[in-house]
């Protein structure tokens, strides 16, 4: 069921850029970490991200950290197809032998990619789940989109996933609107991985939760990532989260990557002034 990626990477992103506004010749020079802003002072265009490139290996876990507004979520949303990027290329190892730019495929193929190859966990459960239909129904919806047809198999899969995410069997037929925040996120994770995606995108999945609840969710996501060997792209402003989950980390500021490296290197020997600031503020 897992879509095995062909290349040495599960996801390759080259020069991803997304801006909101008309754009002018000065946009790139006038924004970024040196300029200390993301909005072009000449034309008012917001350069949410630019020149973002990275590889994610099959089964690898890559973190993206940075202050709010640095462009982390924009990168995820472009990859998931929620936003149309302004420039750049993205390749999935599991799609077209890794040679097909998923940013330029037809909208029908885009939907296929989303239904079969990707999973996304949103910061707010409201975005990732239909809170009014049952937890099991949310997962069934995802499986139907991935062309699962047999009702018994769908139910079995939903039950297995919810159990693995420690959602009690008795809650399966209840709508997530009645669940705690931590449990909603666990249902969202179950839904995101239901179709056996090669890459899962996670956006601040624990930021609204209590620390103790957070620990439980992080632990489960780690367990399931290991078991299913999915690649994950983890966006968080919390360095504790990436320390726990990610082998490599990218640091973003004002829409650009300022530093990328092994997570322990980023935390113990940060090079960029901004990363040093970020790290010193958590160790303090």
């Amino acid at each position: 069921m897992n879509v095995a990626p062909a290349g040495p990477w599960a996801l390759r992103v080259v020069g991803l850029g997304k801006w909101f506004g008309p754009g002018c010749d000065a946009c790139l020079a006038e924004t970024g970490p040196e300029a200390g802003r993301s909005t072009c002072p000449r034309c008012g265009t917001v350069v949410a991200c630019a020149g973002v490139s990275f590889d994610l290996r099959p089964g690898g876990v890559l973190g993206i950290v940075g202050e709010s507004g640095s462009g982390k979520t924009t990168v995820l949303r472009c990859l998931n197809g929620d936003l149309t990027p302004s420039e750049g290329i993205a390749l999935l190892g599991s799609v077209g032998g890794g040679e097909r730019d998923i940013f330029t495929v037809s909208s029908q193929e885009r939907r296929q990619i989303r239904n079969f190859h990707l999973g996304m966990v949103y910061q707010s459960a409201r975005e990732g789940l239909n809170l009014r239909i049952s937890a099991g129904g949310n997962i069934a919806e995802r499986l139907l989109a991935a062309e699962w047809r047999e009702v018994a198999a769908i139910r079995r899969r939903a039950l297995t996933l919810l159990e693995r995410m420690e959602v009690p069997r008795s809650r399966m037929d209840q709508p997530p609107a009645t669940f705690s925040g931590g449990m909603q996120q666990r249902v969202q994770i179950a839904k995101a991985i239901a179709n056996g995606p090669s890459v899962v995108l996670l956006d601040e999945m624990t930021s609204g939760l209590d620390v103790s609840v957070q620990a439980g969710v992080l632990d489960l996501i780690q367990e399931i990532q290991r078991a299913e060997r999915m690649a994950m792209l983890v966006v968080s402003h919390d360095l504790g989260v990436v320390r726990l989950l990610c082998e490599r980390t990218i640091v973003m500021k004002n829409g650009r990557i300022v530093e990328a490296g092994l997570t322990d290197q980023i935390l113990e020997d940060p090079q960029h002034p901004y990363t040093q600031l970020l790290v010193s503020s958590i160790n303090a």
Binding site: D55, R57, G60, A215, G216, L218, D219, Q222, R226, R243, L244, E247, R248, A260, G261, L262, D264, Q265, E268, D269, Q271, H272, P273, Q276, L277, S280
Partner: protein, 243 residues
């Protein structure tokens, strides 16, 4: 003649502290020495002399500004760890190079035995066998059995240190980096660890170790590299006979 496993040449580490007005701190400077396959090289020197920094540079947690770290892989190929890309470093960490830091930073809800078994499972060893191997090491390190299924975040420093050691040794690395692996242990446990490391060494594992207890160090080390304020004070002094 044994082959060189790691060749350190003119290695320099400086920290540029941007938050302190761009101040530069020297971690170490111009360090050169060789480590043969199956050899135990001890790192000694006063506090702040650069020992831990050197280990972290070899492991890849610290980036260096100059010099090379030529590492011979199991297939005979040579990789410069000083400039290797992240994926190469990660692959070596999974298969060949392990690091025991003084402190474990355990994940909050993972049991001691699972935490220690993880690198093995990642190598493809099946779960039952991985747990078996860890259990043997935990017994050997006299980690009380009622702690095995408990959470290391709650452990004492010495207990964490033993989990850390078992985790690193069980994965059967070719190069084991040890930073004060016995510092939180009582004398009798220190002896146990020395014996265990001696066994690993006789099995052919290459080790580079920092131990501030020079008596312990001299029992293990074939050679001692001595640092002083980030520079090589003395290298290649044979300080122990093996067997």
């Amino acid at each position: 003649m044994t082959a060189v496993h790691l060749s350190v040449r003119d290695l320099t580490k400086r920290f540029h502290l941007h938050l302190l007005g761009g101040k530069t701190v020297v971690g170490f400077e111009g360090i050169s020495f060789d480590v043969a396959e199956g050899e135990f090289v001890g790192l000694a020197g006063p506090s702040g002399s650069g020992k831990s920094s050197l280990l972290k540079a070899i492991y890849g947690s610290y980036l260096v500004q100059a010099g090379t770290l030529l590492y011979r892989c199991i297939d005979g190929s040579i990789v410069d760890l000083a400039t290797a890309d992240d994926e190469t470093k990660l692959a070596l960490r999974r298969r060949e190079i392990a690091y025991v830091s003084q402190f474990l930073r355990p994940a909050p809800r993972v049991k001691a035995i699972d935490l220690a078994a993880r690198p093995l499972i990642a190598q493809g060893v099946d779960e039952a066998e991985a747990r078996e191997r860890i259990a043997t090491l935990f017994d050997r390190l006299r980690l009380p059995r009622d702690l095995w299924e408990s959470y290391p975040v709650l452990f004492s420093g010495g207990e964490q240190q033993r989990v850390n050691l078992a985790r690193a040794i069980a994965s059967r690395p070719r190069l084991l980096l040890l930073d004060e692996p016995t510092s939180a242990l009582d004398p009798s446990l220190q002896q146990t660890v020395v014996h265990l490391l001696a066994e690993e060494r006789s099995r052919g594992v290459t080790m580079i170790g920092v131990m501030h207890d020079e008596t312990l160090l001299s029992r293990l080390a074939d050679e001692v590299v001595r640092l002083d304020r980030g520079r090589l004070a003395q290298a290649g002094v044979a300080s122990a006979q093996w067997n």
